[in-house]
Symmetry: C2
Subunit: 307 residues, 2 copies
């Protein structure tokens, strides 16, 4: 349970949900400071059509910025979400370190998002992931709506595991389960990751939870207990699900780091700096954000529990 | 893990934190509806000096109201918090079903709240608890600040367990651990309740968590896994800790019930009714409350996970 990595997805999953498009300079400042705070991977943006998601229109420019000499923060990987071959091409052209891509385990969600069945979408993602690996870049493939779907309701675990099996058979080592609609409960988390580790104990697992129904942190803990190492979270708790009416976003990065540091883990991350960034975010959007620790301040002692 | 009971503490721990004193008629309406929704125990109020906590000044009158013939909702127990002998006398006179009382595991917290050391306070609480049992009433004793203290910081688990041991030796069967400052993390929850069940596997354990640092639900789940049966929560997520600057309150009743029902537990509780009450609470106080499910609405399917 010692190797826990933070994959900060706020600049993508958070900011794409906001009505207001954040200027590139502001995104750069936040990404820079998140990197300085010590998170491991930052998802800079999504390679979607700029007219479809104007909030993500500057994704290529952001990567180009950070790939200029001296601008890339050390010790951090910059990830980008790609949805199709065109996005992959853009990502390869602008210097993405880690490519994230996924298939929905919900037939309805898959068809709505991609116009393809789950099987067709899986074929395409695997072919894209192989292209990334051939370029010597890192790839993470995900199963979206892995714990339930806003359209379909329950999602059978065997359907999730059959997508994961296909990923593994294609040589993909990094696999994320995403709780797109926020439906997950810890029992599901335990059971699905157990299923994955049964397929292959050496797979590098990631998880992506939303706190829509208040279960985000409990789900993270269940994932951590199973050996999941990569946690996708958003600073200030940005983000939210298009299928719900509330702004409860991703698991909040600084709240999760606060929890980790209470356990004596990842004390190298600068929590104070994370909190300052989230205070800025609240000022920028002019509203209270879902994160809690940026409001309370951390517990002054985090060095573990006395006996 | 099947017998889970909801002890709704919002009318006490929630409303005592609000600047605005809620009129008795409004409290009665909320308590009535909470009982109709199917929660098991409702903490009506606290027997403190009315000038010290004006929000709780009507506690005796509320119990008198519900003890008039035909007014007491069936299948629900009404609990009251007592801090001293005077409060106990008042509680016995007005028909409290279940007396709640506690000792802080923090020396500073204990002296600030009661003017007594932990040892002195424990003596007094045990003597009060015995008086309650002699009257044939139910009693629950708690250890407050069991997971950390806003004044002292870390609280040694052995200090918590030594108070619990004294409770058990005095014949008290219902014991609650309260996370007054919201500092708990699941590892502590697991370890402390393991310690208690090691002292006596048949003790009836309760827990009381605040979501101050976003760990409320994860802590509840850890407690549930250990065999804790009574969960103290607040409707709409009311409540908060005087030692923090934020309004993150108790674990939210309807969010917790939503979680239980996703597991197929306590499907007898009327979640829709709980949600309606919390919507009313938000309107009454004119602000968004910390609870999430009253805003999102429940997931439409809650009957468990398909295989």
């Amino acid at each position: 349970m010692n190797d826990i990595y933070i994959h900060e997805v706020g600049p993508r999953d958070g900011l794409q949900m906001e009505k207001q498009t954040v200027p590139s300079e502001q995104k750069i400042a936040w990404i820079q400071r998140l990197a300085e705070a010590g998170v491991d991977i930052i998802q800079v943006g999504s390679f979607v059509h700029p007219e479809k998601v104007p909030q993500m229109a500057d994704t290529d420019r952001l990567f180009q910025h950070f790939n200029l000499p001296g601008r890339k923060p050390p010790n951090v990987e910059l990830s980008g979400l790609v949805l199709n071959e065109k996005g992959l091409e853009r990502g390869l052209a602008c210097g993405v370190d880690m490519f994230c891509m996924g298939v929905s385990a919900s037939e309805t969600h898959s068809r709505k998002n991609t116009g393809m069945s789950i099987d067709e979408a899986t074929d395409r993602i695997i072919s894209m992931a192989k292209a990334v690996l051939n370029e010597g870049k890192r790839v993470q493939t995900s199963v979206q709506s892995a714990f339930g779907c806003g359209f379909e309701g329950p999602v059978p675990p065997r359907r999730v595991l059959s997508i994961v099996r296909r990923y593994l058979e294609s040589g993909i080592r990094n696999i994320s389960l995403a709780d797109t609609a926020g439906h997950a409960i810890p029992d599901q988390v335990t059971s699905l990751f157990q299923g994955i580790f049964k397929l292959d104990p050496s797979v590098e697992c990631a998880c992506h939870f939303h706190n829509t129904y208040a279960m985000g942190m409990a789900n993270c803990r269940a994932a951590m207990q199973l050996g999941v190492k990569y946690f996708e979270s958003s600073f200030a708790g940005l983000g939210g699900c298009p299928f719900t009416r509330v702004a409860a976003g991703n698991v909040c990065t600084e709240d999760f780091v606060h929890f980790l540091q209470r356990k004596g883990l990842r004390t190298d991350i600068d929590l104070t700096k994370l909190i300052e960034i989230s205070k800025d975010v609240a000022i920028f959007f002019g509203r209270e954000m879902p994160g809690l620790v940026y409001k309370t301040g951390p517990i002054p002692w985090r060095e573990g529990t006395p006996s």
